[in-house]
Amino acid sequence: MASVTIANVWKYYGKTSAVRDLNLNCNDGEFLCVLGPSGCGKSSTLRMLAGLEHISAGDILFGERRINDIPPKDRDIAMVFENYALYPHKTVYGNIANSLRLRGMSKADIQQRVQKAARMLEIDHLLDRRPGELSGGQKQRTAIGRAIVREPRLFLFDEPIAHLDAKLRAHMRVELKLMQRDLRTTMIYVTHDQLEALSMADRVAVMHEGVLQQFGPPQEVYHRPANRWVAGFVGEPPMNFLDCDLAEEGGDLCVRHPNFTTPLLPEQAQIMQAKGGGRGVTLGIRPDEIALAAEPGLHAFSGQVMITEPLGGDLLVDVILEGSKVLVKAKPNYRGGRGEVCHLTFDRERWHLFDREDGQAYF
């Protein structure tokens, strides 16, 4: 059984806590992504899974087995490091074959496995080269080869494509996802790039300052963020946040802002009445969930265009409201310019309300 369970795990470096009370699980054959900015504890978590760090408190189980005190070499894992960690004095073949040689496999078997892995990663023509002669992408694929040749029950990938150029990264995202599907091995993948996480993972664990923020499939993390921080971190361009009040108007519960007063949908109003009370809220809405028009419409309100950023297929418009600014993804045919008045409409199915103090999402 290659499932992984992380139960109440803490990690301290001296007095600083890097991981706090983490609870995660990963099913057999699943692609789990741990997402978060630098310093959030994701690398520490991965290193604890690998056995390169001691676990300060809590347990980690592979299947049914508690592996806290087992050294890395006995955990049946393979790891791909951020900086590849290739052995400079060995050839590509030697690098990939290293773990098999350490385990005393026969030369013929090693040859067969290495060739298979190299063919799969398209580096079989590089087997005699040294790491110093390889490009970044080739080094990375060598590092991956070193991992897959082991046929372990768990892969651990530590930001493996972070140092490649953008095009290569996009290509590798697809490659890695396909590879994981083919091999059907459990994979835990750490990254700070939310694009990687959303596109590749079966489930995403979002971490911030050592604490797990949300854990669920990518769609859920994107469309139903658990708190304001996750909402702001996931998604590019980032979500807009506006501080608002709740007010009654014309019998409906509305979101009130100096520029607009927009009623909530009935389900939403219900939730707010049950939990809301008189607290301040923050409205969150993504740039592509705001409609921009030159003429006013239903539930529309006006703002002033600050600047437009044409991106080719998209058009980003910064709109000034009273005391805040909103980024809108408009259709490329919008002709408004700097200083002009424009009319915005929120997609009320998709907007979010967060508690202003603790950031928890109402919906």
Binding site: A50, P72, F81, Y84, A85, Y87, S99, L102, R103
Partner: protein, 334 residues
């Protein structure tokens, strides 16, 4: 860098500069306008800045070098009766001079023993220090032998080796290692006597160099090897040691060269005896020059010593320059 074509020399200084290659190669980089911000734009300034130091060095090193060549070709009489041209007799005598050949053998013997033990113990020490909580304190203590003047070290150990009142002699006898012999007075043990002093003084240096190297071993590689399946020992031999080679090489070469230079301790310990068993070549040179005053032959011997130093120095510089020897750069691979 803007390319300007070289102009004819403007002054004698520049002409001199050109002839010794200052400006030819660098002409591509030159901007001759006075006051330009390019460093090469005011070469004369830098040239003059270097001059005093180079001049002093030249006086002290080049002149003696030629003097040595001169002396080696003459029979030098310090009585003032003048030098007689000797052809190459001083040199040919060397091929028959047993003491000269023995001098090299003893030097090799001495060096090899010293380096073997210093590296063996030094590396072990470095590995232990690297993993120790008390590293800083211990290193400070281990520095001390290196601060002692070699002549003082020789004297102290001379005291310790004495068969009548020496504590090390007593220690070794009580432990059953030494018989009735005196350490420095016996041909079999005298070499060990001076080797031990060198080990005492300089093992910390090897340890410190190795320690610096250990800290530069890329951690990533060690961890990757751990995940691949290596235990601590295998990890050391497969990852750490290959990364340490340039450091060890530098350490060995430096110690080798230092063995040529420091005869202070041996002078007071054995003076080359007993029966020339510790008369390494530099010591023989010292005797010939300052006790027997055979300056012509001495000069020839000195030149052989210098040639050897230069050869070793070339090797050392080669190691500095090699990719493996870029010991002060960050790890490759990223």
């Amino acid at each position: 860098m803007i390319e300007t074509p070289p102009r004819p020399a403007r002054s004698l200084g520049e002409a001199v500069g050109e002839t010794i290659g200052f400006t030819q190669e660098g002409a591509r980089y030159l901007k001759y306008e006075a006051g330009s911000l390019n460093p090469e734009g005011s070469r004369r300034y830098y040239f003059y800045l270097m001059l005093p130091a180079i001049f002093v060095l030249a006086c002290i090193t080049i002149y003696p070098f030629f003097w040595l060549i001169y002396m080696s070709l003459h029979s030098v009489d310090i009585g003032g009766a003048g030098d007689m041209w000797n052809d190459f007799r001083n040199w040919t005598r060397l091929t028959r001079d047993r003491k000269f050949q023995d001098g090299w053998l003893r030097l090799a013997h001495y060096s090899v023993l010293c380096i073997l033990f210093e590296v063996g113990i030094g590396v072990l020490l470095a590995v232990i220090l690297n993993n120790s909580r008390f590293e800083k304190v211990l290193v400070t203590i281990f520095l001390m032998p290196m601060m002692v003047a070699p002549i003082v070290a020789g004297l102290v150990w001379y005291y310790l080796y004495n068969s009548t009142f020496g504590w090390y002699h007593w220690l070794l006898q009580s432990a059953g290692i030494l018989g009735e012999t005196s350490i420095l007075g016996d041909r079999g043990t005298a070499m060990w006597g001076i080797v031990i002093v060198d080990i005492w003084q300089w093992t910390p240096l090897i340890a410190l160099i190795t320690l610096a190297g250990l800290k530069r071993v890329p951690r990533d590689q060690l961890e990757a090897n751990m995940v691949d399946g290596a235990g601590a020992f295998k990890n050391f031999f497969q990852v750490t040691l290959p990364n340490l080679y340039p450091f060890l090489l530098i350490a060995i070469l430096l110690r080798f060269m230092d063995n040529f230079r420091f005869i202070d301790a041996i002078l007071v310990l054995t003076g080359g005896g007993p029966a020339n068993s510790t008369k390494i070549l530099p010591l023989y040179l010292f005797d010939i020059s300052f006790q027997f005053f055979k300056l012509g032959r001495g000069a020839a011997i000195a030149l052989t010593l210098l040639i050897m130093t230069i050869v070793l120095g070339l090797i050392l510089v080669r190691v500095f320059e090699s990719p493996a020897g870029k010991v002060n750069q960050n790890e490759e691979g990223r």
